[in-house]
């Protein structure tokens, strides 16, 4: 299945992209996606941790992704 990835903050700089479409096995969970991402973009290991948002809401590791989801990589936030 196809999903869209969005990168923000330091993740944009490390990956060199704002947005990409990737293929993922169907019914993949967020923790599976995170493993895939660290393989595909090994520079993401330079961030201590990152959260994932699916369709503009934070998602837990066991959340199951669906076709056409918009998945954002959220490095530690620093607003305010």
């Amino acid at each position: 299945m196809k999903i869209q990835l969005l990168f923000f903050g330091i993740a944009t700089d490390l990956v060199g992209e704002n947005s990409v479409f990737i293929e993922l096995k169907s019914a993949a969970t967020i923790s599976e996606l995170k493993k895939d991402l660290l393989k595909k973009y090994s520079k993401l290991k330079n961030i201590e941790d990152f959260a994932i948002a699916v369709n503009e809401e934070y998602g837990e590791n066991d959340l199951v992704l669906q076709e056409n989801d918009v998945v954002a990589i959220i490095p530690p936030v620093s607003g305010g």
Binding site: F8, G9, D13, E48, A53, E56, A72, V77, S78, G80
Partner: protein, 140 residues
């Protein structure tokens, strides 16, 4: 009547707008938190800060904070405004304004709102120094 005002803007934040939004005859006080760009981090001179946001999600998260504060504390109204883009020393990246009948609720809600914003709202700042730049909070 709208109880909350949530805004992300590339323009200069307006303190008076936040004040006017929350001000009401039924209120005995208004608490304001105004974040300002500091000139140094760990004794290193900062030249400017660059804020970026995942804007649609940041708005949703700010609205959640506002809605939660309105149920958690005895307050009348609140405003949460955040700027994005390049800000200079002394500029204002964030304003929280809260009005309430009695002062304690306004102080508590104001602190809750800024503390939660710093934990959950997808906004990032990059500090620019004379000799380089750093994404705040992002390095082990």
């Amino acid at each position: 009547m709208k109880k909350s005002s949530v805004l992300i803007t590339p323009k200069k934040l307006n303190l008076q707008d936040c004040y006017d939004f929350v001000q009401a005859a039924s209120c005995g006080g208004i608490a304001l938190f105004v974040g300002t760009v500091r000139n140094s981090t760990k004794n290193k001179e900062v030249s400017l800060l660059d804020f970026s946001a995942y804007e649609p999600m940041a708005i949703k998260e700010m609205q959640k904070i506002a809605d939660l504060a309105l149920t958690k504390f005895q307050i009348h109204k609140l405003a949460i405004h955040h700027a994005v883009g390049e800000l200079q020393i002394g500029d204002i990246p964030v304003i929280i304004a809260v009005s309430s009948a009695h002062r304690n609720a306004a102080f508590e809600a104001c602190q809750f709102a800024i503390d939660t914003l710093k934990e959950t709202v997808p906004i990032w700042k990059k500090e620019h120094f004379e000799d380089g730049e750093v994404w705040v909070n992002s390095h082990p």
